[in-house]
């Protein structure tokens, strides 16, 4: 497999919500590439559109949401990209058979709340086996064997016992492991993880993050990691995209994003996180104001009303582009008029 060829490529995605109060441009022109075996973190505060981006990829948007524009190109497994075996997910019927095969087969997903993934009335084994039957049709192995093997992989000491347990019988961390097992049973090449550790305690979070890294090394899958936690980003990501109000404001490799940030929003965000080491904690500089109301997006750069480096007549009139078009080594791409 060619590692330079993205597995998933999003081009100028716009997902809007049409509701009674007006139109919310939840995702407003996002472009991203996901490479094999790499972790892309999408980070931002509530309402920035990070989860809607994930839901657009999987075509599981709420009813009011619609993809208005853009492409989501997925390289199919076993497909040869030079022969064009790439499918545009935007063109597929969200309820159709092709999309169902992609969900779970090509792209696995895990969420913050495992209880919403599992049905409370069936056993863990039953539910994961169902996913195995859907996506592992060519294997000769019994679904039960596949499931027990996967449960052992994600760290259950007694897969036999877990097989017949109900979701409520597991602790939060164990439920998260079961959800990861279910997401990976179809051997997807991309795993979308939407805030998978936000509801967990820190020691459990450390277990799950380490598990995800181990499974990534074993199965070679790419991970799209959606989170608001900059610490988790630093620990997990290869590439980082920072979102604000439906746009990517900065993008680059993890080291550059943390050590040479350029966009004022990212700089401010990094300054507003309390540090663990008391010696490094001098003063917090919060970002003034708050995220604007989605119905009245500011003109020009969406961050300009809160920006410490606001330039009149530029920032409030023209929308900045993510530049340079191709990332240079040691530099991030930033959507800010300071750099144009």
């Amino acid at each position: 497999m060619d590692a330079d060829q993205p597995l998933l490529e999003i081009r100028d995605l716009k997902t809007h919500f049409h509701i009674r109060q007006g139109t919310v441009r939840a995702v407003d022109g996002v472009s991203l590439s996901v490479f094999p075996g790499q972790t892309l973190a999408i980070v931002g505060e509530s309402g920035c559109g990070k989860s809607i981006t994930a839901q657009s990829i999987l075509r599981i948007l709420p009813r009011a949401g619609r993809i208005e524009h853009g492409h989501i190109h997925l390289q199919l497994s076993g497909g040869d990209p030079s022969r064009g075996e790439i499918v545009d997910l935007v063109g597929l019927n969200p309820k159709g058979g092709a999309m169902r095969e992609i969900r779970g087969g090509e792209i696995g997903m895990i969420f913050q709340e495992p209880m919403s993934t599992f049905s409370p009335v069936y056993t863990i084994g039953h539910q994961i086996a169902e996913a195995a039957r859907l996506h592992r049709t060519t294997d000769d192995i019994e679904p039960r064997e596949l499931v027990l093997d996967m449960l052992a992989h994600v760290g259950f000491a007694h897969p036999d016992r877990t097989w017949s347990q109900y979701p409520h019988e597991l602790s939060g961390g164990m439920r998260q492991r079961a959800m990861i097992a279910m997401a990976l049973i179809g051997r997807p090449r991309i795993l979308i993880a939407d805030e998978p550790t936000t509801a967990l305690d820190v020691t459990t979070e450390a277990q799950i993050l380490r598990l995800m890294k181990r499974l990534q090394a074993e199965f070679g899958m790419a991970i799209i990691f959606i989170t608001h936690d900059l610490g988790v980003v630093a620990r997990m990501a290869d590439q980082v995209a920072v979102m604000y109000l439906g746009n990517i404001v900065e993008q680059g490799d993890v080291d550059t994003v943390f050590h040479a940030p350029r966009h004022p929003y990212l700089k401010a965000l990094l300054r507003s996180v309390p540090r663990l080491d008391p010696a490094e904690n001098i003063g917090l500089e919060p970002i003034s104001g708050m995220v604007p109301d989605p119905f009245s997006r500011p003109a020009g750069c969406p961050f300009h009303p809160r920006c410490p480096e606001f330039m009149p007549d530029t920032c409030d009139t023209a929308v900045p582009q993510l530049l340079p078009a191709v990332a240079e080594p040691g530099r991030t791409r930033a959507a800010c008029h300071l750099y144009t």
């Binding site: 505060e45 820190v202 610490g231 620990r235 663990l276 970002i287």
Partner: protein, 346 residues
Amino acid sequence: MTAQTPAGTEATILRVRDLRMHFPIQKGFLRRTVGWIKAVDGVDLELGRGQTLGLVGESGCGKTTTARCILGGYEVTDGEILFNDPELGWVDIASISKDEMFSVRRNAQIILQDPYGSLNPRMTVLDIVGEPLLINGIRGSEREQRVAELLSLVGLRPEYMSRYPHAFSGGQRQRIGIARALALQPQMVICDEPVSALDVSIQAQILNLLEELQDRFGLAYLFVAHQLNVVSHICDRVAVMYVGKVVESAPTGQLYDRPRHPYTEALLSSVPRPDPRNQADEIVLEGEVADPANPPSGCLFHPRCRYAVEQCRLEEPELRPATAGHFVRCHLADDLELMGVSAPAA
């Protein structure tokens, strides 16, 4: 039990001694008690005036139950909760009369975690912030004026007082909660995960506001939280809880630099840091937190502790001073060289 004046100085506002709160497990038609959940089982705390004491630990460790006990929310099983009330002097909240509790409540307030669930959606901001004033006999235009002052104190426009909570964002709601807690000019405020539900940029605003208010009014905070970076930023002292017990307590810098309990070490190493070049070598704890209804023998942490020896399985350690002001509940505290937060850089 009568409250006597403890030997401490008047600089102390709260002293909790060996607090225990056990909840019965009831089964069957007759609701017979078949066991006890030892939610809090040996908590000692001391909070100075104008100081911030962090109470940290994972879910189920008893930190919120401790906070509720301190506010008289439960009839505690055992122990003392001595509060230095400005009008009554030292009182034991664990055995206090109703009238005395009324006074204590004026001086000990709480800020809750959930800015959505903790404000009544049918009450206006004036009613929410003004309710403690009303209960204490402040009415009419005087009340309105006080509420206006409180709102501007926490950074909200007084014109908003006739609005309902749904009109505010999470950060603004937390400000309303803070205004309500400060309405009666308390001496001590218990902050139960006050910024856990907020985005980072808003979290910093609220933390700065809490610090500002502390400087201005000399408030003492008992800061209950699971976010160790937030605690590092705001607390003078930190107490770490594990399955109902305080396992370590020390001044913040000392605890983070040189932890003495293996659980504290593991906890600190688990926190993902916002710097890809400075990721601690995290100590992944095996297994699950002990069940407070069926605790293991000896030290509660021994089944997950990588330093555990035979003694840990048999004998329960006491909370004892390791150095001045640094208390630890571990048999091996003096022998272990544990990793603090600044270790990876060194």
